[in-house]
């Protein structure tokens, strides 16, 4: 990177400060002290981002959703309700923390703490600037996938330990959903990895910078798969069947009260923020923005893109109704997985043409973009015509469950079948 000389006061390269500190320690101290210090600085930096941002994001989310639903939203505590999250946090801390008598004690206490570990760890590979990530791992994409898979286990521990059937239902739903939607997320990232030829998160940003294009334009379907797949893994509203209030109370954290619930809530928001940042990094160019990163601090560009993606997540939540479990599953397995496999082959082919035949990227990339948008559109059209449940423009009567299972009718049919045959 041809960044201007990294002075300690230069906001464009905040990494300079931490480098100065670690080099100063390495001068007089042992090696391992410098390594530990690097880790501590990185962790503090990540926490310094997550903590305050969470408070603002809670307010933002409630305010934006209120506007979308023609309400006002929080407006009592502080100017325009800005201190509402603080008041909520204080309330949650002061609340009594109950534990069911039949709960498995240790397994019940651990999850609210353990769930923070993956939520913090995935920030480690996020590049905030050219040289500005806590650990620019060679296999950052794999790290992201591996670490976000650990969440499932913690949720299962929480759901099982409460000795509550709704919590267990919620946990089972989370696991079924996360494991299913991990496949489209991995397939979408794999297409990017095939195409850019690197497993490093920063490498993907550098590829976008080198080719002057954001990957969203070339792989629209991968972007959609990553966006919706992460929505499902994050349990956000179009896919929040794991804590569907109308069905299973509060899902996997039914019995958690007070700040324990607050921790689950905070981690959910932190994960959403992290996934927004990763979407911005993979598909929108991350810290790079057509040369603007030479003038504006790169981490500010990333945060702006992250904010944009977070707004998209809020938008989805405010707009779409909750999907049913079988709808979610069939959407994943009948649409995302086949389309993802197709795009894997497409990405590999296009990469081979680009590298092996030496095509000019400036010519090939726009053609690829057109082809991929065409394939994506065709995929959506084919799915809508064949596998999707048919849309009814003018239903003759209210229809609740149109699947083959469920409801009173299923019970009646079962009773009939039992007595008849």
């Amino acid at each position: 990177m041809n960044l201007p000389a990294a002075e300690w006061y230069d906001l464009r390269d905040l990494n300079g400060i931490s480098r100065l500190i670690t080099e100063w320690v390495a001068d007089w101290g042992p090696d391992w002290l410098a390594s530990i210090l690097t880790g501590v600085i990185g962790a503090l930096g990540v926490l310094a981002i997550i903590g305050p941002t969470l408070l603002i994001l809670i307010w933002l989310e409630r305010k934006v959703i209120a506007r979308m639903q023609a309400r006002i939203g929080p407006n009592r505590v502080g100017p325009v309700g800005l201190l509402q999250p603080v008041a909520d946090a204080v309330k949650l801390i002061l609340k009594e923390e109950l534990a069911p008598r039949a709960a498995d004690k240790w397994v019940f206490f651990l999850p609210p703490v353990l769930i923070f570990v993956p939520a913090i760890l995935i920030w480690g590979v996020l590049p905030f600037g050219p040289n500005m990530s806590v650990a620019d791992l060679e296999m950052g994409v794999l790290f992201l996938v591996a670490i976000s898979g650990v969440n499932v286990l913690v949720v299962f521990m929480a759901g099982w330990a409460q000795n509550n059937k709704y919590a267990l239902f919620g946990a089972m739903r989370v696991i079924a959903m996360s494991i299913s939607y991990e496949i489209p997320v991995v397939l979408s990232l794999l297409a990017l990895v095939f195409f850019t030829g690197t497993l490093s998160v920063n490498g993907i940003v550098l590829w976008q910078q080198a080719n002057d294009v954001v990957l969203f334009l070339i792989f629209p379907m991968s972007a959609l798969m990553f966006l919706f797949g992460s929505t499902a893994e994050l349990n956000r509203t179009p896919a929040d069947i794991s804590e569907a209030e109308s069905e299973i109370v509060a899902g996997y954290h039914t019995e958690y009260s007070g700040m324990r619930f607050g921790l689950f809530y905070a981690v959910e928001l932190a994960n959403t923020l992290a996934i927004s940042a990763f979407f911005a990094t993979f598909f929108l160019g991350g810290w790079w923005l057509w040369g603007l990163d030479q003038w504006v601090p790169s981490w500010l560009i990333l945060l702006a893109k992250t904010g944009l993606m977070y707004f998209v997540f809020i938008w989805l939540r405010g707009t779409l109704p909750r999907l049913r479990l079988d709808q979610l599953m069939s959407f994943c397995w009948k649409f995302f997985v086949p389309v993802g496999l197709v795009f894997l082959a497409v990405a590999a082919t296009q990469r081979t043409l680009l590298i092996e035949l030496g095509w000019d990227p400036a010519v090939a990339l726009p053609i690829y973009a057109v082809i991929n948008w065409g394939i994506a559109g065709a995929g959506v059209a084919i799915y809508a015509r064949t596998a999707a449940s048919p849309a009814q423009r003018l239903p003759s009567r209210p229809v609740m469950a149109r699947g083959r299972l469920g409801g009173l009718r299923a019970a009646r049919e079962l009773a009939d079948a039992g007595s008849g045959d």
């Binding site: 391992w32 996938v145 499932v152 494991i179």
Partner: protein, 198 residues
Amino acid sequence: MSDVGFHLAFWSLSALTIGGALMIIVSRNLIHAVIFLILSFIGVAGLFITLSADFLALVQILVYVGAIAVLMLFAILLTPRAARDNEESLMRYPAMILMGLVIAAGVFVALETDWGPMREGAIGTQAKIIGESLINQYVLPFEIGAVMLTAALVGAIALARQDDEDLPIHTASLIEEGVLPPPDGDAADAPAGPGDDS
């Protein structure tokens, strides 16, 4: 690599791995045992990192912690009474003898192996090396593994799949009640069927 940090990491990760493995045996509750097993897996992943095998460590977490442990939890959860207690079993002594033999074999292999190449350190970009050797040198085992996994997937679907006759509700009854559109697309009085809408 500094010696202090390396030894610190090695001993603490070893303690985590072996402690977790011990607790699997000691704990009577099977769910607890699986949780300790996960702890042990994470310790092994950490040990891989100290050996500069980052790829292996991440795959260890992805496959063992993220997938296999969840599978075990499901298996325990869906087995009646298994989640409550781990009861006495007559198979204890054969199992002890078997495990003793396995441990002896492991120790023998560890003592007899020539660890010389290990001291040369990491061998560069591992993902690239692994990928290239999978496609070039080991392409046949790789393809056989892929076919076996596909066969397992198809077999699982075939086992879990219900035939249409077994479903509690027949499509025909739904069509009678007007919930589903008739198959031949009677557009006159039925709501728009699949493919009717643009």
